[in-house]
Every structure is written in structure tokens, then in C-alpha cells.
């Protein structure tokens, strides 16, 4: 939470991803209550229906679940489920755009593979 909303993505997608990030970073723990849609709406000054749309996507993916009359909670195993989902999406989110940009610059696949092989681990600048 507490990130700043941008224009590049739908607001409800950003709400969804912020909750996911917080689960991955242990800001929100499994079996813990997440902020209500009204709390999210107030925090970001957005329409509660939009906040609810983001939260409901996470319910559909079984990352959150609803306790009647109490609120939304982080499901057991949510953290692993988010990591898995993002791993599956990694190709679409990163590799595809990497290949497209490389192609437009005339960088061959072999060169790309070499660059990756030579890149330092864990994102430290070389």
C-alpha cells in the first residue's frame, strides 16, 4: 500500500498489484485482514467501487477470501500463489518486450544470451 497511483495502468489493477506486493513483502501476512474497500478508497481518494474491483480480482484468484461480516483476509498460500503467477507471467511481461526492443536495434538472439550470461546476479550494477 501507500504507493502513488499513476496514469499508465488501470487504477483497480494498481490496487490489486499493490496488495500483491504487500503480501510478497510481508507487509500483509497470510490469514491477516486487509484494508476494506472503503479504507482503500479513502487512502487513495478513489471511488470505492473501483477499489472493490481490484480487491475482487484477488478474491477470484484465491489470494484473498471474504469472511462474512468481518472483511477480506489474505488466504493461506497466497504468497506462493502470487510468486507462481508472476513467474508464469515473466515471459510475457519481460522477455517479449526485451526481444522486441533487441530486434528493433538489430541485437541478435546470441548477443542477448551473452549479455544475460555476463550480467551480474541479483541486479547489482556491473
Amino acid at each position: 500500500m501507500n504507493e502513488i497511483l499513476t496514469q499508465e495502468k488501470s487504477i483497480y489493477i494498481q490496487i490489486k498489484e499493490m496488495i500483491e506486493d504487500d503480501i510478497l513483502r510481508d507487509v500483509l501476512l497470510e490469514e491477516e485482514r486487509v484494508p476494506s474497500t472503503n479504507e482503500l478508497a479513502r487512502l487513495y481518494a478513489i471511488n470505492p467501487a473501483t477499489a472493490a474491483k481490484g480487491v475482487n480480482l484477488l478474491v477470484d484468484e484465491e489470494i484473498l477470501y471474504k469472511k462474512r461480516g468481518i472483511g477480506m483476509f489474505v488466504a493461506a498460500g497466497a504468497k506462493a500463489r502470487i510468486a507462481n503467477k508472476r513467474r508464469e507471467r515473466f515471459y510475457d511481461d519481460y522477455i517479449r518486450s526485451l526481444m522486441a526492443e533487441a530486434a528493433s536495434l538489430g541485437i541478435t538472439k546470441a548477443e542477448l544470451v551473452r549479455m544475460i550470461a555476463e550480467a551480474p546476479e541479483d541486479g547489482e550494477p556491473g
Binding site: 497511483l5 496514469q7 499508465e8 495502468k9 488501470s10 487504477i11 483497480y12 472503503n38 478508497a41 479513502r42 487513495y44 481518494a45 478513489i46 471511488n47 470505492p48 467501487a49 473501483t50 474491483k53 522486441a100 530486434a103 528493433s104
Partner: protein
């Protein structure tokens, strides 16, 4: 659950028609944004919906009952107008305090406590005459009347005009808090579209006396894209899609695309596809087409 419904609303001022048979249905428990260019007919539409102004033709009903000269229906409607428009009229000569007293007698569900709280919150000097207030302070009065009216359907005409960015944000939070608590319906007209877009569940776009669209804000934004790149590539991507606004510069072309349900943009690495803000969508839909540069 109340429904406020306008059918075939037409308004003529001195021979020129400013609203052309407008149909509009407002549901309970929603925040609507009303956007449109100057002179599009927004204020006229709001004043007719709240029976402050007679329509030349057409009807406005609350749960099927006409609102015109209907005290029961009128007690559930509030049109908090833009005070800057009063100009030198006698209404602007009265003090804020007196204006709020009139509002208190006019709105049967008036929340005096809330009005007093908001006066303090905005540091408003109620002994001043309306005409002597700054634009921003006049907007604060508009906001106080709207929120404290407690009317089921509340219309705010340009409530943030002249307010600084901190006060605007304060207003949106107050509006959301009141909405959350009361489930009232609000219709907010504004020219400051960018920051208000996230507050509106639905957007009503008025253009040249007609409602161009009324749609869930997020769903609208989800189907609007800006496509740019080499003109040939952009043309190929836009083939068969609804293109609403184009810019060209040399071989480069940019286009606003509105996808219909079920449509998607073909994937191509050589064009840039961007999401659009509500403000950009508005300009693409209502702006005049630019002259093609030669």
C-alpha cells in the same frame, strides 16, 4: 431505491436550442462526473434536472413522479450552483451566513452541524458578502450547501473552481466520506478532469447539447488506447477499429482508438500502445480535429 430520470429534455434560449432531446437516468448510490466543454449545456441540464429551470420539452421524474412544482420530490434534490456566475445580482450581495440560512430553510434535511464543521474546516468568513469572496471561497460555499443539504440527489456545479490543489483533494475526500456514509447520489461537474476521474464511478460526457456517452469510468478507460508509430503501421493496427482523433507529423501518426466489446488491438512490436487518462479521452472525443500539417 430512487431513480431520477430525464426524458427528451430540450431547452431553447431565444431561438437557439442548447439541449437536444437528452435522455438521462441517474441511479441511487453513485458518484457521477459530468464533463463537457464550455457551453456544452452542463449547467442547463443540471438546473432542469433539479426543476430550477423549466425544460422547453421533455420531462424529469423521480420514481415516476414529475419533479416540477412537486415539493416532495424537490425536498430530495439539491442543485448547488456556481456562485461566481451570480455576478452583480442581488443574490451575491447577501452575506454567506444569510445564504446558508436560506439553504437551511430550503432543504428539509439540512445538517447544521455538518455545515458548521465545514465552515471551520475551510476557514470561511461567513460575515462576508458572497460577492466579496474569492472564487475559491465561493466554491467552498457551493460545497457546504451541497454536502449539508443531505439531499438524496445532489448536483455540484464546478465545486472545485478556484480551489487550490490541497483544498481540491480535501473536497474529494469529504465527498467520498459522505458518499460512503450516506449512499447519496452525487453529480459533479468539473473542468479539472484528471484528478477527479478516480472519484467518479460513472462519467457523463456532454457535447454540444447531447450526451455523447455515459459509462463506467474504468470500463471506458479500459477500451481507450493511444496508438503511435509509422503511419503505415498505425493504419494497419487501426484497421476496422473506431478511431476518434488523429495527429500526424511527417511519417509519424498517433491515433485514439475506442475498442468495442470483444475487440482487441493486434500485437505489433513496431507501434507504441498507451493507456489514456480521462482528460486525454475527453480531448480526443470532444476536441476539434486539428488541421493536417502539410
Amino acid at each position: 431505491m430512487s431513480i431520477l430520470s430525464g426524458k427528451g429534455i430540450t431547452k431553447t434560449y431565444g431561438g437557439s436550442e442548447v439541449l437536444h432531446a437528452v435522455d438521462l437516468e441517474l441511479e441511487p448510490n453513485k458518484i457521477y462526473g459530468l464533463i463537457g466543454r464550455n457551453g456544452a449545456g452542463k449547467t442547463t441540464l443540471l438546473s432542469i434536472l433539479t426543476a430550477q429551470n423549466p425544460a422547453t420539452a421533455g420531462s424529469v421524474t423521480l420514481n415516476g413522479e414529475p419533479v416540477w412544482e412537486n415539493p416532495e420530490a424537490l425536498s430530495r434534490l439539491c442543485f448547488s450552483r456556481e456562485l461566481g456566475l451570480l455576478g452583480g445580482s442581488s443574490a451575491s450581495a447577501i452575506k454567506v451566513k444569510e445564504y446558508l440560512q436560506v439553504a437551511e430553510t430550503f432543504f428539509p434535511h439540512w445538517d447544521k452541524e455538518m455545515a458548521e464543521h465545514l465552515i471551520k474546516l475551510f476557514h470561511l468568513d461567513i460575515k462576508k458578502r458572497i460577492s466579496k469572496l474569492s472564487r475559491g471561497m465561493q466554491s467552498m460555499v457551493t460545497i457546504i450547501v451541497a454536502l449539508a443539504s443531505k439531499a438524496e440527489f445532489t448536483f455540484l456545479d464546478e465545486p472545485v473552481a478556484g480551489l487550490d490543489v490541497v483544498a481540491r483533494e480535501k473536497f474529494y475526500r469529504l465527498l467520498l466520506a459522505e458518499y460512503e456514509e450516506s449512499g447519496r447520489t452525487f453529480v459533479v461537474s468539473t473542468h479539472i478532469i484528471e484528478e477527479a476521474a478516480d472519484v467518479f464511478e460513472e462519467v457523463i460526457l456532454v457535447n454540444e447539447g447531447r450526451i455523447m456517452l455515459k459509462e463506467n469510468t474504468q470500463e471506458l478507460l479500459d477500451r481507450c488506447y493511444h496508438v503511435s508509430g509509422h503511419a503505415d503501421a498505425v493504419a494497419a493496427v487501426c484497421e476496422g477499429l473506431e478511431v476518434r482523433h488523429e495527429e500526424r507529423l511527417g511519417r509519424s501518426r498517433g491515433a485514439t482508438v475506442l475498442l468495442a466489446p470483444g475487440q482487441s488491438l493486434p500485437e505489433r512490436a513496431d507501434v507504441t500502445v498507451q493507456k489514456m487518462s480521462l482528460q486525454k479521452v475527453f480531448v480526443a472525443l470532444c476536441g476539434e480535429e486539428e488541421e493536417e500539417s502539410v
